[in-house]
């Protein structure tokens, strides 16, 4: 297999900001709201070019979610922007009642998710958001893996009628997916073929998984890496097809193991194809301050931890 490469280092939140600007230019119904984090969410370009379609909500996220629901009633396609923590836990009831239960076409766009937020620490490092969002009936939950995919996902969700949670992050991260990709909601992407283990990863963990797979290849273990950018609806067919071949499963995500992607996959496999499985994720802990890569290693989410988990799985099966 060819050596793993990337084109540049770029933050996924910039993919969101650039995607939003492109959307603004092509769809006059797209509007955006932000709760005093316009720079952090990279929404400045949209706000500057379309001031009449940009609403500064101030540090008042609950109201922002309600206003977005109201704009959706008026036929607009609102994109809300704030940190993942304030996009979910802080406003769960507003999302539940005014958006999800009411079936409103709101795109909840959440940056600075997970440990890779880094130095700000656990108050801001939400690791429960995917679980909260996937539990809401009718909510689509997406966690892209790099700049290009985040940009493509941002553009794609405007075409989808219904509430969407789009999760991305703060750090500069390798850009390794196609810049011209068409993003298909609910369609898993096979990033690397393998025969011994199916490694299902989402978000920043996709890159870590590809690194781990490369390392394991040298040790004679063939790992299939599948990018599950859409947590919900889960691409069940892709999961079952891969596991039917490899018979071994690992999930990898920058999230609590409780309520995360791994749990969704395990639930599917328990029903359809019970298989030995390891879970890469945060194990019932809060995060802390530090550099993104230091945190990923300390909490067992980096490529070294993934390598270990896969070796353990292969050894026991």
């Amino acid at each position: 297999m060819s050596k793993l490469t990337y084109s540049e280092m770029k933050d996924t939140r910039s993919g969101f900001g650039d995607g939003l600007l492109e959307l603004g230019r092509k769809n006059p119904d797209v509007v955006a709201l932000c709760a005093d984090l316009t720079g952090s969410l990279k929404m400045n370009a949209f706000a500057d070019e379309f001031p009449e379609r940009f609403f500064q909500a101030g540090i008042a996220e609950a109201n922002m979610m309600g206003v977005a629901a109201g704009l959706a009633i008026g036929g607009k396609i609102p994109f809300t922007g704030t940190f993942a923590n304030f996009s979910t836990g802080r406003v769960y009831d507003q999302i539940r009642q005014s958006i999800a239960y009411s079936g409103k076409n709101v795109k909840i766009c959440a940056s600075h998710a997970g440990l890779t937020l880094g130095e700000d620490g656990a108050t801001h490092q939400i690791l429960e958001d995917l679980g909260m969002m996937k539990m809401l009936p009718g909510m689509t939950v997406i966690n892209p893996c790099d700049y290009n995919q985040t940009k493509a996902a941002t553009i794609a969700i405007a075409e989808h009628d219904g509430p969407v949670y789009l999760r991305f992050g703060r750090p500069k991260w390798p850009v390794f997916t196609d810049p011209d990709q068409k993003f298909e909601i609910g369609k898993a992407l096979k990033m690397r073929e393998g025969t011994d283990v199916s490694l299902f990863a989402t978000g920043h963990c996709v890159w870590e998984s590809l690194k781990a797979a490369e390392e394991l290849e040298e040790k004679g273990i063939s790992v299939e890496v599948i990018d599950i950018h859409t947590i919900k609806p889960l691409d069940e067919k892709a999961v079952l097809e891969s596991v039917a071949k490899t018979k071994r499963v690992v999930s990898a995500e920058e999230h609590q193991i409780n309520g995360g992607l791994g749990e969704s996959i395990a639930g599917l496999l328990a029903r359809e194809l019970p298989s030995p499985m390891e879970f890469i994720g945060v194990n019932d802990k809060f995060g802390e301050s530090g550099k993104p890569n230091e945190l990923l290693e300390k909490y067992g989410l980096g490529s070294a931890s993934i390598v270990k988990a896969i070796q353990k799985l292969v050894d026991r099966t």
């Binding site: 509007v31 609950a62 109201n63 309600g66 607009k76 507003q94 009411s102």
Partner: protein
């Protein structure tokens, strides 16, 4: 004023509907519903420029949002009686497979409802968003909302109050049902709202007063509020009502906030409310 008398006759029938629906379901919120029957009747039969052939966006129409969703019986009654859905559907209130859920929702597709409410404090934000959408579209119609006074204890309300003033949302007429009752007792005792007029004025709203159980006051105040639209400020009407208005034993107490009358109590209540338009 024959127009006022006709509205009063409708409101009396709406009150009968409320009592019968809540009695039939053995659950629901009669107190606030009865107190707001005059407001709802005036709104749907006199004030709103609306189309009972419902569509979600409501382009070119006035829209109404009920934020204190627990008083759904009064809303369902006026929606049915103004033609949004068949009158006999009122008999399904709170029963299995109904579109008339305990708290209003879009989920079962009930015409007239644009967002779920029940978890308090959310409706003003939604209304502000709908008002902004109308402004973006150049639609000159008005957004109306209703809130409970107890509901103003929710922090999100004040976020929305700040936002609406900042955004100069002047196509918004909100009303507070100021009956001074909430589940645990008098609002003044549970968590005082203080000087509501001064508060809303300080936030930059135009504030008006209304006697919510006096049909002439309701109609004239809502018309006056409409004339204040387009002047750069959102409008808040402080509506004094009596919880349980029209049924003597439900008035003067918070106890009928969320309790259904039994058979005997229902008969006593209906004896005080003339069947003006025919029961459902």
């Amino acid at each position: 004023m024959p127009e006022i008398q006709e509205l009063e006759r409708i409101a009396t029938q709406v009150r009968r509907d409320i009592v019968r629906m809540v009695h039939s379901a053995s659950s629901g919120h009669p107190g606030g519903s009865l107190g707001c029957a005059d407001f709802f009747t005036a709104l749907y039969f006199e004030i709103l420029d609306h189309n009972t052939n419902f569509n979600m966006k409501g382009n070119g129409e006035d829209l109404f949002f009920l934020s204190n969703g627990h008083i759904s019986p009064v809303w369902y009654s006026v929606l049915a009686r103004s033609g949004y859905f068949p009158l006999d559907e009122l008999a399904t209130f709170r029963k299995i497979n109904t579109r008339l859920q305990g708290h209003p929702t879009t989920h079962e597709g009930l015409p007239g409802v644009r967002v779920a409410s029940g978890s308090l404090g959310q409706g003003l934000s939604v209304a502000a968003g709908a008002a902004l959408a109308k402004k973006l579209d150049g639609d000159k119609k008005i957004i109306y909302t209703l809130h409970g006074d107890g509901e103003l204890q929710e922090g999100q309300i004040w976020e929305a109050v700040m936002f609406a003033a900042h955004q100069k949302i002047d196509n918004l007429i909100s009303t507070v049902d100021w009956n001074n009752r909430q589940i645990d007792g008098d609002v003044e005792d549970v968590l005082s709202l203080g000087d509501l007029r001064a508060k809303f004025e300080a936030f930059g709203w135009k504030v008006m007063d209304m006697e919510g159980n006096n049909m002439s006051s309701v109609v004239s105040t809502l018309k006056a509020a409409k004339a204040e639209c387009g002047k750069g400020k959102p409008i808040m009407i402080l509506m004094k009502t009596e919880m349980g208005q029209g049924v003597d034993y439900m008035m003067g107490t918070h106890k009928w906030h969320g309790v259904a009358p039994n058979d005997e109590q229902k008969d006593i209540a209906l004896a005080q409310l003339e069947e003006t338009l025919g029961d459902y």
